[in-house]
């Protein structure tokens, strides 16, 4: 779920400058640093005062460095903002994290079961930030919830689908 208020402000106020993006806004999120947004064309935008907006085209900026991603959601936690989606070519889940919006690092989506390590296979549908637990929660296909805490090797997968 995204925060509607910034979008409404952008839409309703003729005096609030809007970010110059090409795509449709599909999500916004706010933390103590800034308000962030995501479009369906993989543009990520943010502003500290909702007047001056920075915009990057993620796939363009990282062409040759990260494989192109189709994004579906954005969330902001304490000290970071995260976007999720799937890699366009492989369809595998993808998650990237930034602190201030202009530099993005890939978050590993591995998890342990017993003593084996697996990669998340279910595609994320949405993401939210759990500030109390200091983790991101990905809602994925097949009833999977994927928890991404601060610790890099502590991801957890829980299945909540119908039996």
């Amino acid at each position: 779920m995204f925060n509607l208020i910034p979008i409404l402000l952008l839409m309703l106020s003729p005096f609030t400058p809007a970010p110059e993006v090409k795509g449709e806004v599909i999500g916004t999120a706010t933390n103590e640093y800034a308000t962030f947004g995501l479009t369906d064309k993989g543009e990520i935008f943010w502003s500290r005062d909702e007047k001056k907006w920075e915009v990057i085209d993620f796939n363009e900026m990282y062409r040759g460095y990260y494989a192109p991603v189709h994004f579906v959601g954005i969330a902001a936690g304490a000290g970071s903002v995260a976007v999720v989606g799937t890699y366009e070519e492989s369809g595998a889940p993808a998650m990237f994290v930034s602190q201030r919006g202009s530099v993005w690092s890939e978050r590993t989506l591995t998890y342990s079961q017993g003593e084996e390590l697996f990669e998340l296979g279910e595609a994320p549908l949405a993401i939210r930030a759990d500030l109390e637990r200091d983790e991101y929660v990905l809602t994925c296909t097949d009833g999977v919830l994927f928890f991404v805490p601060s610790c890099s090797h502590c991801n957890r997968l829980e299945y909540h689908g119908a039996d």
Partner: protein, 1274 residues
């Protein structure tokens, strides 16, 4: 004359030509030619120089994003994303990736198994193969080359949940085996590393249940001799390039926050050059586990300052900028960490052309190649340990090897008979590569063309009785529907061993629950309770929760089956509570009761009689038993050493049914065997033995391979022999046993180093190359070993050392392993085994002298087949201590980047070979720079930055004839200076000046133009709006955010005032005419509340005139009284605004230590204060007490001199002789000069008694009148 001139010209030309030729031959000349390739991509520079150059180009946000294990891509610099975290404990931790042509990586035997091979060369070959597979996978761009392996922790306690990942209990064995791994993984190339090993977990971290919150409390002897020993050996002998700091603390300081442990010991004592990573969430644990600091910012500071370069987590990545902005860390702290990280990445060749790097040719087919699989099989045959091999009752034949030609049937029984157990940190090898014992044996028999019937059945479970459950809460539900929840961690009493923790999760839970454990809760309202819910997490199999009253054995009121078998959800070791509900048996309870939750393991299943019959019917019964992931793991130690589940019952039943029973155990470490070891003729043990375990065991059972492994740990008779797992000390006493072969002196089931063979070996002709030794010597111990049996075989000759002449008070170990060699000896042959011993390795730690020491007298070397099976001894006499020699020199200056013109100071530490540090004044230190025009270094180590570029500074230390060097790289960035500064086209530029004054007439401001010293820098000019006014020129490095400001102050000539009247040149800030007037030839200001310091921008009557040039201002001030506490003050001010000023005032008295004391009845003297404030932040404060100064009639002269941005303050008591107060440097704009008088604002500490004994209570301020006789400015 002409000829002479011509000859001079020729000579001069020749000299110039020679100089040119000489310069052209220097390496720096080559670099200068290539101006297009940035330094960090230029292979003619050192890796560290290149790393420093790269880091200098990063923005602040980029730096932060690179401090975690998921290092971001930086496309504008061509830097790829990189995940620092990969694992390769016994094979690459990953699975197949068909999309890039990669099969499942080879899974070799786990460390607990390879440790029992005692063959470091074999492990080196294995690690080299792992490195090849790593390179093949890296080429596909899906993984990095930094691997957080090996685990080098000596196994202090076999209950440790990660025992399976370690090489064994002895530090020497762990170090030698790990050395093979490290060398193999890094590869032989002198320049590039094939892959990067990281030894972990640094250090003394071997109890899982409290690893995030616990502390290993140990003395320096245990620390140095036992826990740190493997790291010392790996760093000093094998150039280990990385360590991982543990979650836990040592002596209550989190290792990840310890400058002493990380910087002083690992880097400066042992000499580690490379990077340090924290364990995943170790930085977070600094504040959430250990509460060592309070915030994430502070934890970031602690980690970076200690020297932890990378955070497996996101604390650094989220809080580094915040910590920097709060002044908790400097840019240099981030730079240092990133230079270490990028130097390591560069050492893998990541930034170099592929043809230069020898390891880039690995193709995907390298992974799971035939060669690799064959090696996995070879290793798996070298690890098993034969524990028992006796004659089968009723025969004349030993149990092993099994002669297939003499049997018709073999029964394979046990939960591991048809299973491949790879152990912890296992990748996923191809299914076809995983061979179970059943598959291996069947295939072996088929390959031999034999007709032997093989049956297989599990017959038992491996359900663990340790760590049954984690309990978060319980809840009662009454008949009327009311519920009450109780925190299960708030028990009033419990059985022994119960702990509370949250592990990696957030929920505090009752943990370490064993079969029979209980927790009790007083005053629980059970009146009319119908239902009980327990919030429980099942880590593996689960258990039964019984609720009792009147004691743990009292009346049972409820039973909850919290087991996997009953269909309950299993959360794993990181799981949170799941509610589990059952009805409560009402017993007519009508008062508050103590509720007991008693935890029990499910009953073991009975052994299926058909299984026993199958054993009885076979010629040979082989029972495969062991441990698995449910027995112990990360976050969960074993609570028992028994084989899990009902495996012991199975063994006993099968052994009773068939006299020819062989037990094959595959476990993470020692298990209790006293309850079955005498029941059968044959016992084999192996650690988790890799993908080929089935094939290997077949070869061993049937005699193709003669087992030659030796136990890498003591096998205790009982868990009760062990001290508490939280006790990290090694030496026994006060009723507790010592630990490991070093200090445990009770009977054991099998001693360290034990292992027998199908053959027998005889030892003879023991000798030692020297009978009198010093620690400087290297000796050889030699023995002849003869194979006196019927099979070719391997023997591991072991050398143990004791110092029997050491005083008993020193509590030396019973013995220590100091040499070994595994040799293959054919039947009937004799081999001379020569084992080198470096006498410098025979040290102990002297806690008083803080250095290594050597016992004097006899050193007895016991040579044998195990630590107890000693076949002979040789003795040498030690005389003297180690000849001191320099070992590790570390030089640095605290910075990685300088700006042109800046200076820094080199700091050096020098450590000797006895791990003590020298006083550098006893040594000669010489400094050199390989690029003096970039960074010059003086004889005293002072550094001066010159032109842009990189340089390496080296400190060469000479001490008692030995020499060692340390070096570091520096990058010099362009100076943030101006190459031109003009006013209306006329140059005013002065070297070193940042403030310029131009005095003229009021009106339109002149135009300022400027250029920066380097085209890469940005220039912003903010023109003055008028005269008076200030033009501000900013030189900006857009990458780093650094900037320098230059102010051109346009001013009119200031006007002195004798205060006959109020001059037109004056303006007043916050005028209050009732308190400010010219009267009697003076400007009189009566003080009121307020000031301009810090946030208090409310002083009235600041009288100012424009003074935007350089000047000297002076006034004669008389006050109606000594300025009173806490902060009354009056004097001169240079003012831009309320947040930017310099003031020189006569103020309230100053108290503190060292100040002259005032006697009762005496008036307290005031003080002279110089205060500078920059953007609201205090920049300078100088307080000079006037105690003892003869101030007549409260009259003082004040003088403030402005020259550029420097303000120098003076005072005088007679108007003639001036005393300097101090200086402040502050760049102000649109400057006004004038006077101020105010009551000031009480400082934060006033009123707490901190200002001397005289002031018990804060005193109210009585307004004072400040009379300025005149104001002179010139």
């Amino acid at each position: 004359m002409i000829m002479k001139r011509f000859l001079n010209f020729l000579l001069l030309s020749a000299a110039v030509l020679s100089l040119g030729l000489m310069m052209a031959s220097k390496p720096s000349a080559d670099r200068k030619k290539d101006t297009k390739t940035p330094i960090y991509m230029n292979t003619s520079y050192s890796f560290e120089e290149r790393a420093v150059d790269l880091v200098s180009r990063l923005t602040l946000e980029e730096k932060q994003s690179l401090l975690g294990n998921s290092m971001a891509a930086v496309p504008r610099l061509g830097v790829k994303a990189y995940n620092v975290w990969s694992e390769a404990l016994h094979g690459i931790l990953s699975g197949a990736n068909p999309s890039v042509g990669i099969q499942g990586p080879t899974s070799f035997p786990n460390s607990v198994a390879t440790g029992s091979s005692w063959d470091p060369d074999l492990l080196e070959r294995e690690a080299s193969m792992i490195g090849d597979e790593a390179r093949a996978i890296f080429q596909t761009g899906t993984k990095g080359l930094t691997f957080w392996s090996p685990v080098v922790e000596p196994v202090r306690d076999p209950r440790w949940g990660r025992t399976g990942e370690s090489f064994g209990e002895d530090p020497f064995l762990a170090a030698v085996m790990a050395g093979g791994y490290v060398r193999g993984l890094m590869g032989p190339d002198a320049k590039y590393m094939k892959a990067v090993p990281t030894a972990k977990h640094y250090f003394a971290n071997n109890s899982e249940f409290n690893r995030h919150v616990g502390s290993a409390d140990i003395d320096e002897r245990d620390m140095r001799e036992f826990y740190l020993y493997p790291y010392k050996e790996l760093i000093e002998k094998d150039n280990l390039p990385s360590i991982m700091t543990a979650y836990s603390a040592v002596n209550h300081v989190p290792v990840s926050a310890s400058v002493y442990l990380v910087d002083k010991i690992a880097r400066r004592t042992y000499g580690m050059k490379g990077y340090v990573t924290g364990d995943c969430a170790a930085i977070e644990d600094i504040y959430t586990g250990h509460y060592y600091v309070e915030t994430a910012d502070e934890a970031t500071r602690e980690g970076l300052i200690a020297g932890v370069d990378s955070d497996c987590g996101s604390i650094y990545q989220r809080y580094a900028i915040s910590a920097y902005e709060k002044g908790l860390i400097a840019m240099a702290d981030m730079d240092r960490a990133l230079v270490n990280m990028f130097t390591v990445r560069m050492r893998t060749g990541e930034f170099d052309p592929e043809p230069m790097v020898p390891y880039t040719l690995m193709t995907p087919s390298t992974v799971n190649s035939e060669r690799s699989r064959a090696l996995a099989m070879e290793v798996a045959t070298k690890t098993p340990v034969l524990l028992k091999n006796e004659v089968v009752p009723g025969t004349t034949t030993k149990a092993l090897p099994i002669d297939l030609s003499s049997i018709k049937s073999i029964a394979l029984i046990g939960p591991q008979a048809d299973k491949v157990e790879l152990g912890p940190y296992s990748g996923r090898p191809e299914e076809s590569s995983r061979i179970t014992p059943y598959q291996g044996i069947k295939q072996y028999i088929a390959d031999k063309g034999l007709d032997v019937d093989v049956t297989v059945a599990s017959g038992a479970s491996t359900k663990s009785k340790s760590n049954l459950l984690y309990i978060g809460y319980f809840e009662t539900v009454k008949a009327d529907g009311t519920t009450r929840r109780y925190d299960a961690t708030q028990y009033s009493s419990s059985s022994d061993g119960i702990t509370v923790g949250s592990g990696m999760g957030d929920e505090e839970q009752v943990r370490t629950i064993d079969d029979g454990s209980w927790t009790a809760y007083e005053n629980v309202d059970l009146v009319d309770v119908e239902q009980l819910t327990v919030g429980a997490n099942i880590p593996t199999e689960g258990g039964i929760i019984e609720a009792h009253v009147d004691g743990p054995d009292g009346n049972l009121i409820c039973t909850i089956e919290a087991t996997r078998a009953s269909g309950k959800r299993v959360g794993g070791v990181y799981g949170t509570s799941t509610p589990m509900t059952e009805k409560v048996l009402k017993l007519g309870i009508n008062e508050l009761k103590t509720l007991y939750l008693v935890y029990k393991a499910p009953e073991d299943e009975e052994i299926d009689p058909s299984i026993v019959k199958s054993a009885a019917d076979a010629d040979v019964a082989v029972v495969f038993v062991g441990t698995d992931e449910n027995t112990a793991t990360e976050e969960a130690d074993r609570l028992t050493l028994l084989l899990p589940g009902n495996q012991v019952k199975l063994i006993q039943a099968v052994a009773a049914a068939n006299k020819n029973t062989i037990v094959v155990m595959q476990t993470l470490g020692c298990v209790e065997v006293e309850n079955f070891r005498n029941l059968m003729p044959g016992i084999l043990w192996t650690g988790y033995n890799g993908q080929a375990q089935g094939e290997a065991i077949a070869k061993i059972l049937f005699g193709d391979v003669n087992p030659g492994g030796k136990l890498n740990a003591t096998w205790f008779k009982s868990v009760n022999d062990l001290p508490a797992i939280t006790d990290y000390t090694l030496r026994g006493g006060s009723g507790k046993n010592g630990r490991t072969l070093w200090y445990f002196d009770q009977p054991v089931s099998y001693e360290f180093g034990y292992g027998i063979s199908y053959t027998t070996f005889k030892y003879s002709d023991f000798s030692i190359s020297k009978s009198t030794v010093t620690p400087d010597d290297k000796i050889v111990i030699s023995v002849n070993v003869t194979n006196t049996g019927d099979y070719d075989g391997d023997e591991v000759v072991q050398v143990y050392m004791t110092t029997p002449d050491a005083p008993a008070s020193l509590q030396r170990p019973i013995k220590r392993l100091k040499g070994f060699q595994r040799v293959t000896i054919p039947v009937g042959q004799t081999k001379t085994v020569e084992i080198p011993i470096d006498c410098s390795d025979l040290w102990f730690w002297d806690m008083d002298a803080e250095k290594m020491t050597y016992d004097q007298g006899r050193y007895v070397f016991e040579i044998g087949s195990s630590s107890k099976d000693i076949r002979g001894t040789v003795t040498a006499t030690m005389r003297g201590q180690l000849t001191p020699a320099l070992k590790t020199v570390v030089a640095d200056c605290g910075l990685s980047v300088l700006r042109g013109g800046e200076t820094a100071q080199t700091a050096v530490t020098a450590c000797l070979n006895d791990d003590s540090f020298i006083n550098l004044s006893d040594a000669k230190v010489e400094y050199t720079s390989n690029n003096p025009s970039v960074v010059a270094v003086g004889k005293d180590g002072k550094l001066t930055a010159g032109r842009m570029g990189v340089a390496t500074i080296t400190a060469k230390v000479t001490y008692k004839g030995t020499v060692a060097c340390g070096s570091f790289a520096l990058k010099v960035m362009p100076e943030l200076s101006l190459s031109s500064l003009k006013v209306d086209g006329k140059s005013i530029l002065k070297a070193g000046a940042d403030q310029y004054s131009v005095v003229g007439k009021a009106g339109a401001a002149p135009v300022v133009t400027a250029t920066s010293s380097d085209p890469s820098l940005d220039l912003v000019i903010d023109q003055a709006k008028s005269v008076p006014g200030t033009a501000l020129v900013t030189v900006l490095d857009n990458v780093t955010g650094d900037k320098a400001e230059y102010a051109v102050n346009f001013g009119t000539k200031p006007v002195s005032d004798e205060f006959k009247s109020f001059g037109k040149q004056w303006t007043v800030v916050r005028p209050d005419t009732s308190a400010c007037a010219v009267d009697g030839g003076m400007l009189k200001i009566t003080t009121g509340a307020g000031d301009v310091t810090l946030a208090n921008n409310n002083a009235s009557n600041i009288v100012l005139q424009s003074a935007n040039g350089d000047w000297t201002a002076e006034t004669k001030l008389t006050t109606s009284a000594v300025p009173s506490n806490p902060a009354q003050n009056a004097g001169l001010i240079a003012y831009e605004d309320d947040d930017n000023f310099v003031k020189l005032v006569y103020g309230a008295p100053v108290f503190g230590r060292g100040m002259p004391q005032v006697q009762p009845g005496q008036t307290m003297p005031g003080s002279v204060q110089l205060v500078a404030e920059d953007n609201g932040n205090n920049k300078t404060t100088v307080n000079v007490s006037l105690a003892g100064v003869n101030l007549k009639a409260d009259t003082i002269w004040l003088r403030l001199v402005k020259q550029g941005s420097r303000y120098t303050a003076y005072y005088s008591v007679d108007g003639k002789k001036f005393t300097k107060v101090g200086q402040a440097d502050l760049l102000l704009k649109d400057i006004c000069a004038g006077v101020i008088a105010c009551d000031g604002v009480r400082p934060a500490m006033a009123g707490r008694g901190g200002f001397g004994a005289q002031q018990a209570q804060p005193q109210p301020t009585v307004p004072m009148t400040a009379c300025f006789d005149w104001f002179h400015i010139k």
